[in-house]
């Protein structure tokens, strides 16, 4: 019962956050110079004052700010994110078309980073003077210091040009026909480089974090107790220590999810991955504000959902949290 209540609480709080994003979007559009109509007229190359007034009325821009905000929220709640200036289709449909690619990329990178980062951290924590420990140190420093787009371009040169193992662009081979399995494998081949690029930064962060936290945990009293029961080192480390040591990694991963999505935007443009990052990049080049704001809203929605999931998994992992 308590769990359901806190879950409900968190969900309501998340909805409030989303509402705040909508309001922020609205405010930003209104303090920015010019409005939607000005932008359209710019596209059309000028218009008569009558037409401008008519367009303003059509878009509801002549009404009071409060009414406009209200209509805006009302529309958003009904899934109406407006129409893209450039594509002339509802923003929602455009985003829903591109969202699966981004979700695939982001979740793959997310789990790659957590798994590889944690495993490296665990190995390094057990042998403070080992080779792996130095690898973690170097990897975490360089992963943090290298610009993500540059890592992507370097991997492109290395694995798509010098050593052409992976495709350089897109999510699938154009015109590729085959069984479902073959298509999936084709997508997988395209996914490797973008996912590794995006994960590289977070592998760096998590391996370091996992090492510090595992070092801490391995020195604790309950680990000694576990060993005094005659449990093997493997069980002590991978059962007793890991479940405690991974907690900071989960917290950090939740906190950094918004940055992961932001990183995906950059990675998508490098690899021509057809996700919302690519869409956002094209939207900004054409000043397509409704589309851009819609993407911001949807990506925030993803972050909020991811935060709820992390929060939930943390509660499962750590019984002390009420």
């Amino acid at each position: 019962m308590k769990t359901i209540l806190t879950g409900l609480n968190r969900t309501i709080y998340s909805l409030v956050l989303l509402l705040a994003v909508i309001v922020l979007n609205f405010i930003l559009v209104h303090i920015a110079p010019g409005d939607a109509v000005t932008a359209m007229i710019g596209d059309m190359g000028g218009a008569t004052p009558e037409l401008i007034a008519k367009l303003r009325a059509d878009y509801g821009l002549d009404r009071s700010l409060f009414t406009q905000l209200y209509t805006h929220i009302w529309k958003m709640m009904h899934g109406d994110l407006g129409t893209s200036f450039t594509h002339r289709v509802p923003v929602r449909d455009l985003i829903l078309d591109h969202l699966p690619a981004t979700i695939l990329l982001v979740t793959t990178a997310f789990f790659l980073a957590i798994i590889i980062g944690t495993v490296l951290g665990i190995i390094a924590a057990q042998k403070p003077k080992s080779f792996v420990n130095h690898v973690v140190t170097v990897l975490s420093l360089s992963g943090f210091s290298a610009p993500i787009f540059w890592t992507g371009l370097m991997l492109l040169i290395a694995f798509a040009y010098l050593l052409p193992i992976f495709p350089a662009f897109g999510m699938s081979t154009p015109g590729f026909q085959g069984t479902t399995l073959e298509v999936m494998f084709d997508v997988l081949k395209h996914l490797v480089l973008p996912a590794v690029t995006l994960a590289s930064v977070y592998i760096a962060v998590y391996s370091r974090l996992a090492r510090a936290s595992m070092l801490d945990v391995l020195g604790s009293d309950y680990i000694r107790t576990a060993r005094s029961k005659g449990l093997s080192r493997r069980i002590v480390v991978y059962k007793h220590a890991l479940k405690n040591g991974i907690l900071p990694v989960v917290t950090m991963a939740g906190l950094q999810f918004s940055q992961l999505i932001a990183g995906a935007v950059v990675v998508e443009t490098v690899y021509g991955w057809p996700g919302i990052g690519q869409l956002a990049f094209n939207a900004i080049l054409r000043r397509d504000h409704p589309l851009l704001l819609g993407i911001l809203f949807f990506s925030t929605l993803m972050v909020v959902i991811a935060n709820l999931i992390t929060d939930f998994s943390y509660r499962i992992l750590d019984p002390r949290i009420k």
């Binding site: 309950y222 107790t225 060993r227 029961k229 449990l231 002390r320």
Partner: protein
């Protein structure tokens, strides 16, 4: 007739490497434990008593620590010669240990039921439901009310005393022949302390388990142990039956420890109960001289104490002490 010891430690040395070279935290320690006996090891913090326990369990943190010399014979076999996996079969099965801090000695993210049954399943061929049944039995035996409900609780939902009972249940779940209790009640309230000792004694009698009790408190020894070893700066300084040690201690350090126990019955002549202490502090193990380590704090000290290490002398039946002043009039 002399009984064969269950556990015998011969010439045990443990060294820790530090920035300033190697420090010997245990020095030529000999001890033995008889079947069914309660052996007390007493001394101030840093005297090596916990390290003795960890050595017997082969859980000395390595590095920086290392067992550099000696034998630990369990039923005549040297556990120091075993492989790690052979040793794992002994830990929690033949020898178990209870630690000082019940608050931090249980893993916070697993239920107590799973932590106790883990020990049972590790060493006995029991399936999940048998292990669960045994767990409930053990929790009941250590006086935990409603054990079938408690097994699904997490350590943070239990009080310190209850957690220590869980630790005891866990340690005893495979009927070990040796139980090492390292300051099992230091972190607990006085009233709970008495309950825990009562429980330990009851279990020791019922299961015929030999117990090594490690403490800094001489009154605990007086109450619980059959025989006692007094340690100072990594060495054994006196050994004997509890009554001999209490009534007739030969080492000034032992006498100091005994004097530290406050007597609550007030002497009508005194205004208040006086708390005694041993003057000075425990020496730095890295800077020991050639002589007796206790010499700088000893009120009976003579020149020889600083120059030569006193050998162990027999002072009575089963009573040994390492002091140059043994036999001298006090």
């Amino acid at each position: 007739m002399k009984q064969e010891p269950l556990l015998q430690v011969n010439g045990l040395c443990v060294e820790f490497s530090t920035k300033n070279g190697s420090v010997r935290v245990l020095n030529q320690l000999d001890l033995h434990l008889l079947p069914g006996e309660a052996l007390g090891i007493v001394g101030e913090s840093g005297c090596g008593k916990s390290m003795t326990a960890l050595s017997i369990m082969r859980l000395v943190p390595t590095p920086p620590g290392e067992i550099s010399n000696g034998q630990i014979l369990l039923n005549g076999d040297d556990v120091l010669q075993l492989t790690e996996s052979q040793m794992e079969d002994i830990r929690g099965n033949e020898i178990s240990m209870i630690f000082q801090e019940p608050m931090t000695s249980l893993n916070p993210v697993f239920t107590i039921g799973s932590q106790v049954s883990e020990n049972i399943r590790r060493h006995q061929s029991a399936n999940t439901s048998q292990a669960k049944e045994k767990t409930i039995q053990m929790l009941e035996a250590v006086g935990i009310p409603a054990p079938e409900l408690r097994i699904d609780q997490y350590p943070h939902e239990l009080s310190g005393g209850m957690r220590q009972r869980v630790m005891i249940a866990m340690a005893l779940s495979c009927q070990p022949s040796v139980l090492i209790a390292d300051e099992p009640t230091t972190a607990l309230d006085v009233t709970i302390q008495a309950q825990i000792f009562e429980l330990l004694r009851k279990i020791q009698e019922e299961m015929a388990t030999s117990v090594i009790l490690i403490t800094h408190d001489m009154s605990v020894i007086a109450e619980f142990a059959d025989r006692v070893i007094v340690m100072y700066a990594g060495r054994k300084v006196e050994e004997g039956l509890v009554r001999d040690i209490i009534d007739n201690s030969c080492h000034p350090y032992t006498q100091g420890l005994i004097n530290c126990v406050p007597v609550l019955k007030r002497d009508p002549g005194l205004k208040r109960v006086e708390l005694n202490e041993i003057p000075g502090v425990v020496p730095n193990l890295a800077q020991l001289g050639p002589g007796c380590s206790f010499a700088p704090r000893c009120h009976k000290v003579v020149d020889r104490c600083y120059q030569e290490m006193p050998p162990e002398q027999q002072v009575g039946e089963n009573h040994y002490a390492s002091c140059w002043r043994v036999g001298d009039a006090a």
